[in-house]
Structures are given as structure tokens and as C-alpha cells.
């Protein structure tokens, strides 16, 4: 009969805690959002399923001896997974639009107001009961405003691993919600005439420029902000593999094998941080609210910078493309295009919005570097 006892004690229902049930439901919700609402499914399916797996009682899949716990230890604590994904992003990204019109970098800079504004918001929340964010935690939350998954995971794993789950979920969820969050803000801040501005066609970019670009960005980063060098370094390395033209095998490996495999592992590992202890806290609500705020502020700052550039250039820049400065590649650029088309069905802004869009990736990495340098130990 002792066996029966042992068996009963080994069962899930005998060990299930209330929080685990709720977190398994949260995991299912994330998969539901991914499958039915198409919220960034490549990330949210593994994250949601990882949450489901890691909240199974007794099994300890997310624990130190469990498979996903070991993957977290090897890939996220070390920072290797987000950096490898950034390499893949670099190999998948065409920076031509940015090289052809470098001034769009300023739109990518403005959108980082979303990060620093949210930082103040997170610190201000401390006046409410139930919130007690340290500077490191506030910085990790703020990076959601970068609208860039790997950057957010990289920073949070360094500054506030206990919030990683909520931050990753918020970052990817709001990136998926960009088509809903951004348009009202864009319409509210621009006039009909501004939205109808037709931009002139971009010049073609030579191969030599595209090859020199990664070196220019990396060396500037090395000189000024080495704390951003891991992120910027892997991004530019991936981009060099893409543009080199003589290392096709490596470029394909970075764009496919590596990024796909790492995405599965990263997602599962992030899911392991969705435990009741860490996720079912008042702080999580704060993170979700602040995340929405971050996207709104970033969008608004980008659009306002777009208006300034529109004015400064005598109406050559459509302010809508400023909203693409939050990154969320390529969603935010598509949104700018769509809102533009509403005003003038022949005005395709997509290519013009790609400049600020990829500038936003660089801008967020730079902002992450600032936070690491000033807030990190």
C-alpha cells in the first residue's frame, strides 16, 4: 500500500498549488493570443507553452535540474540567446533606407523617449502601495518602450531577472498590439495635410556603403558606448554576413537555423520565468500598464519629431514615419504606411518608414547601453 501512497504523493493534483493553476491558465492564454489573435506567435507560442510546462507541479521542468531550467541557465543568464537572435535580426535586416536618408535616425532617437519616460513612470509608481521598484527594475521595465524583444530580454536578464517573464510578455504583447495602439495617437498629433505629405523617392544605395555601414556603427559604439557593444556588435555582424556576398552559407545559417532554434529555446526559457511567485504580483499589473504607456509615449515622441523635421525641411518629411521609430520591425512601418494610405491612397510610405524603423532598433540598443552603463553595477 506504501506504493499507492508514494504514487498519490507523486501526482500533480496532490501537489498542485493555486498559483500554478493560474499560471498554467496564463500560459494557455498566451498561446491563445498567439494562435487566434496572431500576437507574435513565433515568440508567444514557446513562451506560453514554456509557462505551462514549468508550472507543472513535482516535475520541476523549469528548475535547476529540469531541461528548461538548464536552457535558461545556459542561454539567458549568459545573454547568449538574445545576442544570437540579434545576429539573426542583423542578417535579416536591410539597412538601405537608413543609409540613403541618415536623418531618419533622429526619428529613431526621439522614439526612445518612450523608454526614459517610462523609467520616470515606473519610479513614480513607487508612491502607490504595492510597488517598490529599484532603479534596476525600473530600467528593465522601461526598456519595453524600445519595442524590441531581444534587447528587452538582454537588459532584463542583466538588471532584473525576477521581472523577465512579465517584461518579455509585455514587450511581445504590445509589439503585437502596435496596429491598435499607434494609429489614434498618430492621427491625434498630425494634421490632415501633414499625413498627406508625399516623400521623394530614395536614392539607390551602393554595395560598398552597405558593407561599410556595420563597421561605422560598431566603431562609433565602441568609442562612445561600449556597454551597448554586445548588442550592436552582433547586430552589425549579422548584417555584415548578409551584405558581404561571399559568405552566403553563414548568412543563411544566421537567418534560419540559428534564429529558429534559438527562438524555440529562448521562448521556453522565458516561459520558465512565468511562475506564480514572480508573475502574480501587483508589480506585473504595473508593468503591463507602464508597457502600454511606453509604446504610447514612444509613438508620440516619434511623431512630434517627425513634425519638427517636416517643418525644418519645408514639408519634405511625412510625420507619420516618425511613429515607426519605436522599432517593432516591420509592424510599425506597416502601420505608418497604412495610416498614410488612409489620407492618400497613392502615397506609399512603407520604404520611407523603414529608415526610422531600423533606426529604432539601433536607438533602443543605445538606450539599453546607457542604462547598463549607468544603472548596472
Amino acid at each position: 500500500m506504501e506504493e499507492i501512497d508514494k504514487l498519490w504523493l507523486s501526482m500533480g493534483i496532490a501537489n498542485m498549488e493555486w498559483g500554478q493553476v493560474l499560471m498554467m491558465a496564463v500560459g494557455c492564454l498566451l498561446v491563445y493570443l498567439a494562435l487566434v489573435k496572431k500576437f507574435e506567435p513565433l515568440l508567444l507560442v514557446p513562451i506560453g507553452f514554456g509557462a505551462l510546462l514549468c508550472n507543472i507541479p513535482v516535475a520541476g521542468i523549469g528548475g535547476p535540474d529540469g531541461m528548461i531550467g538548464m536552457i535558461y541557465h545556459a542561454g539567458i543568464e549568459t545573454g547568449i540567446f538574445p545576442l544570437l537572435i540579434f545576429m539573426g535580426v542583423g542578417a535579416l535586416t536591410d539597412f538601405s533606407a537608413l543609409i540613403a536618408r541618415p536623418s531618419t535616425l533622429l526619428l529613431g532617437a526621439a522614439a526612445q523617449f518612450g523608454i526614459f519616460g517610462t523609467l520616470i513612470g515606473a519610479v513614480a509608481l513607487n508612491y502607490l502601495p504595492g510597488f517598490d521598484f529599484t532603479m534596476a527594475e525600473a530600467s528593465s521595465i522601461a526598456i519595453i518602450g524600445g519595442a524590441d524583444g531581444p534587447t528587452a530580454i538582454f537588459l532584463a536578464s542583466r538588471l532584473a531577472p525576477e521581472l523577465l517573464g512579465a517584461i518579455a510578455v509585455a514587450a511581445y504583447s504590445y509589439m503585437a498590439l502596435v496596429p491598435i495602439i499607434q494609429p489614434p495617437i498618430m492621427r491625434a498629433l498630425t494634421t490632415k495635410k501633414e499625413r498627406a505629405v508625399v516623400m521623394e523617392q530614395m536614392r539607390p544605395v551602393s554595395r560598398l556603403e552597405r558593407i561599410l555601414f556595420p563597421f561605422v556603427v560598431l566603431i562609433l559604439c565602441a568609442l562612445l558606448l561600449p556597454s551597448a557593444a554586445p548588442l550592436i556588435g552582433m547586430l552589425t555582424f549579422g548584417n555584415l554576413l548578409r551584405e558581404a556576398g561571399v559568405v552566403e552559407r553563414l548568412s543563411r545559417a544566421a537567418q534560419n537555423e540559428i534564429i529558429n532554434v534559438v527562438t524555440i529555446m529562448l521562448g521556453l526559457a522565458v516561459g520558465s520565468k512565468l511562475s506564480a511567485d514572480q508573475f502574480l504580483q501587483t508589480e506585473t499589473l504595473g508593468i503591463l500598464v507602464l508597457g502600454a504607456l511606453a509604446f504610447c509615449m514612444g509613438t508620440a515622441a516619434g511623431v512630434i519629431m517627425g513634425k519638427i523635421m517636416c517643418y525644418a525641411t519645408g514639408g519634405k518629411v511625412n510625420p507619420l514615419i516618425g511613429a515607426a521609430g519605436v522599432s517593432a520591425v516591420p509592424m510599425a512601418a506597416r502601420v505608418a504606411n497604412k495610416v498614410g494610405l488612409e489620407e492618400n491612397p497613392h502615397n506609399f510610405l512603407l520604404m520611407h518608414a523603414m529608415g526610422p524603423n531600423v533606426a529604432g532598433v539601433i536607438g533602443s540598443a543605445v538606450a539599453a547601453g546607457v542604462l547598463l552603463a549607468l544603472v548596472g553595477n
Binding site: P102, S103, G108, A109, I120, S206, V217, L225, G245, L374
Partner: protein
């Protein structure tokens, strides 16, 4: 550190942080413009694969390699 000093610090971080982001990206704007001008001068007609596609190993490459690296080593070991 109490809440208000944190708040002050975060305001300060925003000023510095946005300053660096803008500074960095403004510098990058300038350097990218310079880069494009240099690149277009180096490869003006842009027959894109031309300077790279045909294998043009001159016979002096091996010496070049050693010469360049020697110079680097020399400078490093006797910096003044």
C-alpha cells in the same frame, strides 16, 4: 534611497540618456553622410559586384600582409 531621490535620479537619467541617444545618433548621421560621400567617390559608377567579384590577387599580397602587420607590431612595441 527614498522615492523622491529615485525620482530625481530617474529624471536625471532621462536627461543624460536622451542626450546620449541623440548625441550618438546625430554623430552617426554625420558619419554616415561622410561615409556615403567617400564610398561614392571610391566606387562612383557602382557596377556593384565589380570591385569584389573578380579575383584579383596581386602577387604582392603576401608581402602586403606581413608589411601591414609588421608595422602594427612595431608601433605597438615602440609607441613613441
Amino acid at each position: 534611497m527614498n522615492d523622491s531621490s529615485l525620482l530625481f535620479e530617474s529624471l536625471w537619467l532621462m536627461v543624460i540618456g536622451m542626450g546620449i541617444v541623440y548625441g550618438f545618433l546625430l554623430l552617426l548621421v554625420g558619419i554616415l553622410r561622410l561615409m556615403s560621400r567617400v564610398a561614392l567617390r571610391l566606387a562612383p559608377d557602382e557596377p556593384p559586384p565589380a570591385p569584389l567579384a573578380h579575383r584579383s590577387i596581386g602577387s604582392g599580397d603576401s608581402e602586403d600582409l606581413i608589411a601591414v602587420i609588421s608595422a602594427a607590431i612595431a608601433r605597438y612595441r615602440h609607441p613613441r
